[in-house]
């Protein structure tokens, strides 16, 4: 980049001459770039949050309904007694049935969406790391809630026809949609499921299965293996059972990332490219007007004998300065406002660096119009009037 010496940098001097307009543009751009950063951060937060729930389950193998990749990416329903069958397999240290259901609960006059996890006491799938209070100990009517739900310890919550007491709190456990997680026992969860099913559907279910006890279904069976047992091999063995499928923890995380996160990635990718396009247009227009305003100066510089690379440098440096200042301001803005976002924002240095690189490329693209205009300016036009 040609710079005309520290004392007389034309790009910076010209910026200083039009400082107000330049900074206003930077302010607008920094908001745009801040939004881009926030979206990328929300996306990262989304991944962390949704994987968080899957990781917190503490399983090595997820046994689900045959021919599905459940329970997050696809619906999966298994008879509850399969848990005992799985637990009896060679190599299993512990197995627990779990259910997941989205529930709306009334709390202090407001409707709250929750992901209710039904899990068995002291089995895989129960609430990990209770930060306040205690884990669920009684088989009925106790709940462990995530802090994000806003429930206090000891508070009573009505779900379906039953009332639960919050006995413990977890932190940072939300569903991929952002709903806080609430743990209850599997038995309570099955009852809740039954209560919330419309009466007609309930009769239908009872008629087709033809037997009582059909409410004992789970969405997945979480398996912890004995040390030295290969999860992949174990999953393959389970999959030989026709009505069962099994995913290792790694596979489950990949499936989740693909299905749940891909959509978010596409949406966020779309908005990000839209915002970057808008930024390009704004930078391009401002750099173009700044170039038009400098027409006479540029003609004079050419007339004196400035080579084209000086002129190009002048314009490109201004575009890069605009991008850099806006990016830094935008990043500072997001950092300062991180706590005020409704979703978790995770700013990773690598993401920020990539975006900064993209912004620099955008600046180069945006300066093309100005550069083209500047190169076409006739030095003789400096003489006129």
């Amino acid at each position: 980049m040609p710079v005309t010496g520290r004392d007389v940098n034309l790009a910076l001097k010209d910026i200083r001459h039009n400082l107000g307009r330049f900074l206003l543009t930077c302010l607008g751009l920094s908001l745009l770039l801040g939004i881009v950063l926030a979206m990328v951060g929300i996306y990262r937060g989304l991944i962390l949050e949704s994987l968080g729930l899957v990781r917190a389950a503490g399983a090595q193998v997820w046994v689900v309904e045959g021919d599905t990749r459940g329970p997050f990416a696809e619906a999966s329903r298994l008879p509850g007694d399969m848990r005992r069958v799985v637990a009896a397999q060679w190599g299993v240290a512990a197995a627990g049935g779990v259910s997941y259901q989205n529930v709306e609960a009334q709390h202090r006059g407001r409707t709250r969406r929750l992901l209710v996890v039904g899990a068995q006491i002291a089995r895989p799938g129960e609430a990990p790391l209770v930060v306040e209070g205690r884990p669920i100990q009684r088989s009925r009517y106790e709940a462990v809630s995530d802090r994000a739900a806003g429930f206090a310890l000891g508070e009573q919550i009505k779900l379906g026809r039953d009332t639960f007491t919050v006995v413990g709190l977890t932190e940072g456990l939300v569903a991929s949609g952002g709903d806080p997680v609430l743990f209850i026992t599997l038995r309570d969860a099955q009852k809740l499921q039954f209560d919330l099913t419309p009466a007609a559907a309930r009769r239908e279910a009872a008629r087709t299965s033809g037997a009582a006890g059909t409410t004992d279904t789970v969405n997945a069976i979480l398996v912890q293996l004995l040390p030295g047992v290969d999860a992949k091999r174990f999953a393959q063995d389970i999959a030989r059972w026709k009505h069962l499928a099994a995913l290792t923890q790694d596979e489950q995380e990949t499936v989740l990332a693909r299905s749940v996160i891909d959509r978010a990635r596409r949406q966020i990718g779309l908005f990000t490219s839209l915002l970057l396009t808008v930024s390009t247009v704004i930078i391009g227009l401002i750099i173009y007007t700044m170039t038009i305003d400098k027409k006479k100066s540029i003609a004079t510089l050419k007339l004196i004998g400035a080579p084209d690379r000086r002129i190009v440098g002048l314009i490109v440096q201004q575009a890069l300065a605009m991008g850099t200042i806006s990016f830094v301001a935008g990043a500072a803005l997001i950092n300062a406002g991180q706590g005020y976002f409704p979703r978790r924002v995770v700013l990773e240095p690598a993401d920020a660096a990539t975006l900064f690189g993209v912004v620099l490329v955008v600046c180069l693209l945006a300066s093309a119009l100005g550069v083209r205009t500047a190169l076409k300016i006739d030095p003789a036009s400096a003489l006129a009037g």
Binding site: G5, R16, H17
Partner: protein, 234 residues
């Protein structure tokens, strides 16, 4: 005058447009300008004065003829030198009717920038700029922005910029048009001083009859053709 001319023009022609719209701005113009002289170019509006100055400044390509600057044949039916901007930077200083200072640089920076473009270090360029400003008597305005300068001050800064790289040729297109007669006289005195002290060839386009007596020679253009020169009685 035993010295070789710095500007040597032979049979230069320049026309704009073709067919019925064709304007012959210069017709077979020849001209010699020697070091240390101040030469005037006069003529009615549209007679081709600016066109001639632009050709000498290597800003405008003529259609035919030849031109030698400082002994170097730069045009002979076509440009013989690729780096015309480099030539301008080193050999030619321009002074405009409107001073054309860069509005975003202060007075000394406007002078220094020409020097920096020619490859000088910023410190060197600054000291040269301050030296020129004091030579032209505007040193105390060195930190002023162009918008804060009077017309006469701005024109002197512009002259300082034209002199920044010690050019062999100074081209001025109506440099006094925006000035009152007293300041116009002062500017002409400065150009005279530059010519005498630095052996520069100074070519000034002017309408201004008040300063006609300041030139060593005056050339008159009419419809793009040169009329017989008027040697000034010294």
């Amino acid at each position: 005058m035993a010295e070789l001319p710095i500007v040597e023009i032979r049979g230069i022609s320049k026309h704009f447009g073709e067919g019925p719209a064709r304007v012959d701005a210069l017709r077979d113009v020849s001209l010699d300008v020697f070091p240390g002289t101040v030469v005037g170019l006069r003529g009615p509006s549209g007679s081709g004065k600016s066109t001639l100055l632009n050709v000498i400044g290597c800003i405008l390509e003529p259609n035919s003829g030849s031109m030698r600057l400082n002994g170097e044949l730069v045009y002979d039916g076509k440009w013989l030198r690729v780096d015309l901007r480099g030539l301008r930077l080193e050999k030619i200083g321009f002074i405009f009717q409107a001073h054309n200072l860069l509005p975003f640089l202060n007075a000394w920076e406007n002078v220094a920038v020409a020097r920096i473009l020619a490859g000088a270090s910023p410190a060197q360029a600054k000291s040269r700029a301050l030296e020129l400003l004091s030579y032209l008597g505007v040193e105390r305005r060195k930190d002023a922005m162009p918008g804060e300068l009077s017309g006469g001050e701005a024109q002197r800064i512009a002259i300082a910029r034209a002199l920044a790289n010690d050019p062999r040729i100074v081209l001025a297109d109506e440099p006094t048009a925006a000035l009152d007669s007293q300041r116009a006289g002062a500017v002409m005195d400065l150009l005279r001083k530059v010519a005498t002290e630095r052996r520069t060839a100074v070519i000034v386009v002017t309408h201004d009859e008040k300063i006609f007596d300041r030139f060593d020679r005056i050339y008159s253009l009419r419809d793009g053709a040169m009329e017989a020169p008027h040697p000034q009685a010294a």
